[in-house]
Amino acid sequence: MTTMTGKAIGGGARYVDERLTSANFIRRSMNKVFPDHWSFMIGEIALYSFIILLLTGVYLMLFFDATAREVIYNGSYMPLKGVPMSEAYSSTLHISFDVRGGLIMRQIHHWAALLFVSSIVVHMMRVFFTGAFRKPREINWLIGVGLMVLGLLEGFAGYSLPDDLLSGTGLRIAYSVGQSVPVVGTWSTFLLFGGNFPGESIIGRLYVVHILLVPGILLALITAHMMILWYQKHTQFRGPGRTEENVVGSRMYPSYAAKGGGFFFLVFGVVAALGGLAQINPVWMYGPFNPSQVSAGAQPDWYIGFLEGSLRLSPGWEIRAFGHTIPLNILIPGVVLPGIMFGLLALYPFLEAAFTKDKAQHHLLDRPRDKPVRTSLGVMSLTFYFVLWIMGANDIAAHLFRISLNLTTYMGQVALFLLPPLMYAITYRICIGLQRSDHEVLVHGVETGTIHRLPSGEYIEVHAPVQESQLVLSPVEPDHPERIEGERGPRALVSAAGRAVGSFFVAKKKDTSVPADQRERDDDTLTKR
């Protein structure tokens, strides 16, 4: 029995191989080595939530009707029965109340959308703080920034589809942001909306954007992202046996396939649990979009929140030029600021390379503490973003914590300029402190937990010297090695006894005990990267 199946598979494989000569490629792929560090799986959360979005989105497509045509709702949600509304809103109600499994599909779709963008952001944070974006991986960094921006766009388009009161309010804000751009703004928004806001066309157009255009580009970019990753191979943290020329970890087949496949189901499980337990976007309570209505606490989904916050924080500036009013209070926070933020994000790898004059290839990752300037810049930017994000919800915060709304705006304006530099300084100190404690370990050894009492009555703890084999040397920001006193070794190579004490959530692992040459390796990387 087993031999027969084996024969059948072997025969099939031979058939394919004789025509596509793919055996070599498949063998190499199956033996490809993936690093084991947990932080390498965050990107997978994004990938898997995208797959979940495609699957649930197709189900929603079967029942959703993206037209602005007015209909009289006649479904089973009582408070809206007999109320005139757009076909788009009516079909969303239909999905929620009258399609079998419709509500949970909508909720899974929406939770997966939130998770998709969140995991992209966290993934990007790990790439940034470990320096994985450095040469030769700048292109994949740029693709990543593109994926994130498209993710925001995709989410915003989807959020606007049901044509409910909240999303209509969001679209109106987008419309006025578009109009604030001098010269081209009025005409391009007019073109996009097919006339004045809201018009009849925008829902249909957003639908094309949401189910065809952006998902198509996303799919293409994700493919390119993965192919480049495959070709360039993963980065890895420093460790025994790990060099710029190899990758240490588990093979694609069977370990990594099992791991990744299992993880897909974990992601699916978390999203499905959220979709089944927690109500999201209850459009039936928002009501159909009506330009004369507005709800308190009308917010966009979280990933657009930073824009909402920057609009709320901006003082009411306007200038008049050439007979036109330029609403700086919308133009700057709504267009200029996000332009600068995403621009800097995209350019960061090139800026860092230029400022540090680093033209080398890098396949080994930095620990955040060893690059205090980069780490502090990252924390500083995240703080800036975080303040904007929180301010996007300042009315809800004011309401729940009973503080004055005006006070929160004022605090936000101050915090936006004060907190980021403060966080820079704090992060910098923490990095240096961590470097010092690494250095301490190197010089004085590892704490053993054994306490001795000296004849004088003093207590001391016995420290065991670090084994050479456990030692991981990390290059530290070349500008500041002098901050660490009592150097051992060359100045640019201040030592960090990372793996000796276990670090970054990884307990002392088998890495340290298994001789380097017995670990699985990606063989073809040994000769050529």
Partner: protein
Amino acid sequence: MTSTAAGFAAAGRRRRKLASYAVLLTALVVLGVTYAVLAPRGHAASTAEESFAVQKGRELFQTSCATCHGINAQGTQEAPSLIGVGAAAVDFQVSSGRMPLARPGPQADRKEAKYDRAQIDQMAAYVASLAPGPQIPQVDLADGDLQLGGNLFRTNCASCHNFAGSGGALTYGKYAPRLTPATPVQVAEAIRTGPENMPVFGPSTFDDHQVNSIVKYVDYVTRSKNPGGLALGKFGPVPEGLVIAVVGIPALLAMTLWIGARA
């Protein structure tokens, strides 16, 4: 439908019916009292009743309200005059525990009521006897139209109280409260008297049918079940984003750590 489910549904209907009877009954009693108070003089029995209620009301008022509102409710530096605010304002303010005001602040908060039904009616009768004003509205939920109420609510109330009556911040520490604890009569009273920073919606804005409809919708939207699961406070996308940030992402990161440690 199984028989138990039908039984539950019937019981629910009965309870709702009972509740609306109770509301109706209260409204009738209140109406009777107010009528008695406001009815033209010369009716010996009602005058006696009236003067009794007004008498008791004045006593209560003078012990616990006069320090702020003045000995004849004419108003002081601390608090506005109550002449002409009507029984509805007194009933709303006292039955929702806002009055007697505990401490000055940007706004009077809702609290446990300090007086029982009879005492509130007496104080309302006293204030109503000073000058005509809005009477305690009669709410008839059966007359309300849910769809009309929803639309009126979204047009006139959601901008402060949020789409589901979850409340929202106004400027300088003032806020529109969550509507869940308000009884149907209090909702109607709030509409008619416009407490503090809320606008007054008088009979020229909404007729009684419209008020009944709004009250019915508020009752529905604050008490209805949530078909999607946990309602997350009915504040829209902000708590949803928070759930992803504090539940979704941490749960998945914990799983990556677990898998990573197992490699």
